[in-house]
C-alpha cells in the first residue's frame, strides 16, 4: 500500500511538509535518518548546533519506540514527518505499537547519575513542546514535538 499524501498535522495547520521518513523500528536504521533530520532542521531556520540537538531529540524518540514501543514484540514501522512551521519545526512521530501512557514517560531527576532514563530527559530539554497522542483511528501513537527558532537551545 502506498500513501500518496503526507500525514496532515493536526496541531499546526499552516505547517508545510518537508520530508517524511518511513523505516523499520530497528537500531541500525537510525544512522540512515540523522543527516536528513539535520538538513531539514537547517531548512527550518536552525543553526548547526541547534539542528544537531534536534537530531538528538528525534533520534531519542525513535529509540524509545524501538526499545519500549515495539520492544520484545519485534519490529514495526515508524513514520517520521518533518514540517516547517511559522515558529520553526514540527516533528510528528507515528508508530503502531501499544498505546503509550504519557504519565509513565518520566525523565530522570537532574542530579541522578545513572545509566538510563536519559532519552526522554534529552527530548524535553531540547524541544519546546512534546505531546503524546493516540494515533489516528486509535492505532498506535503519535508523538508531536515542536522547536521554535530564535530561542537559545
Amino acid at each position: 500500500m502506498t500513501s500518496a499524501s503526507f500525514q496532515v498535522p493536526a496541531s499546526e495547520d499552516t505547517a508545510e511538509p518537508l520530508l517524511e521518513l518511513h523505516f523499520t523500528a530497528c537500531a541500525d536504521r537510525l544512522k540512515l535518518i540523522r543527516d536528513s533530520i539535520r538538513a531539514t532542521a537547517r531548512m527550518c531556520g536552525f543553526d548547526d548546533g541547534t539542528a544537531q540537538s534536534i537530531v538528538l531529540a528525534v533520534d531519542e524518540a525513535c529509540q524509545n519506540i524501538i526499545v519500549h514501543g515495539y520492544g520484545e514484540r519485534g519490529e514495526g514501522i515508524v513514520i517520521l514527518g518533518l514540517y516547517r512551521s511559522d515558529a520553526g519545526i514540527l516533528v510528528r512521530l507515528r508508530d503502531f505499537a501499544p498505546r503509550v501512557d504519557p504519565t509513565k514517560v518520566k525523565p530522570r531527576a537532574l542530579n541522578d547519575v545513572r545509566p538510563g532514563k536519559l532519552g526522554s530527559y534529552f527530548i524535553r530539554e531540547i524541544m519546546d513542546t512534546v505531546e503524546f497522542r493516540p494515533g489516528p483511528e486509535g492505532k498506535g501513537n503519535l508523538l508531536e514535538m515542536t522547536k521554535h527558532t530564535g530561542e537559545p537551545q
Binding site: 541500525d28 531519542e60 529509540q63 524501538i66 532519552g119 534529552f122
Partner: protein, 110 residues
C-alpha cells in the same frame, strides 16, 4: 583522575569510533567494561566518535561507576562539540574527567 592506588600503571585506552549509539551500544559497553576489568584507570578516546546518544552516555556512566567502585577512574579524551553538548545536556560534563588529548590525560594522571 584518581591517583590513589595505581599511580605507576599506564591507563587503558579505549578508542570509540563512528556512532556511539543504540546500534553500537552492546559493543561499546563490552569494550568499556572489559577495559575497566583490567583494574587500571581508563581513558576513552572520543576523537573519532562522530555521534553519541543516550545509549552511548549510559555505557560511559556504567563504566565510570564500575571503575570508581574498584578504586580507579574513567576519563574522556578529545570530546567533540556534539559529544560535549550531550554531556552538558546530561549535566555530566563535571562528572567525567575530560582531557584534550591522551598526553594531557597522562600528564594529569602522573
Amino acid at each position: 583522575m584518581s591517583k590513589s592506588d595505581k599511580p605507576q600503571q599506564e591507563p587503558s585506552v579505549v578508542r570509540l569510533a563512528g556512532s556511539v549509539d543504540l546500534e553500537h551500544a552492546p559493543d561499546v559497553r563490552k569494550m568499556l567494561l572489559d577495559a575497566v576489568a583490567l583494574g587500571r584507570n581508563v581513558l576513552v578516546d572520543l576523537s573519532a566518535a562522530s555521534y553519541i546518544d543516550s545509549s552511548g552516555i549510559a555505557c560511559l556512566i556504567e563504566a565510570l561507576q564500575k571503575a570508581r567502585s574498584a578504586g580507579a577512574d574513567l576519563g574522556l579524551v578529545a570530546v567533540s562539540i556534539q559529544a560535549m553538548r550531550v554531556l552538558e545536556l546530561a549535566r555530566l560534563d563535571m562528572v567525567f574527567p575530560i582531557h584534550d588529548d591522551i598526553a594531557a590525560a597522562t600528564a594529569a594522571d602522573a
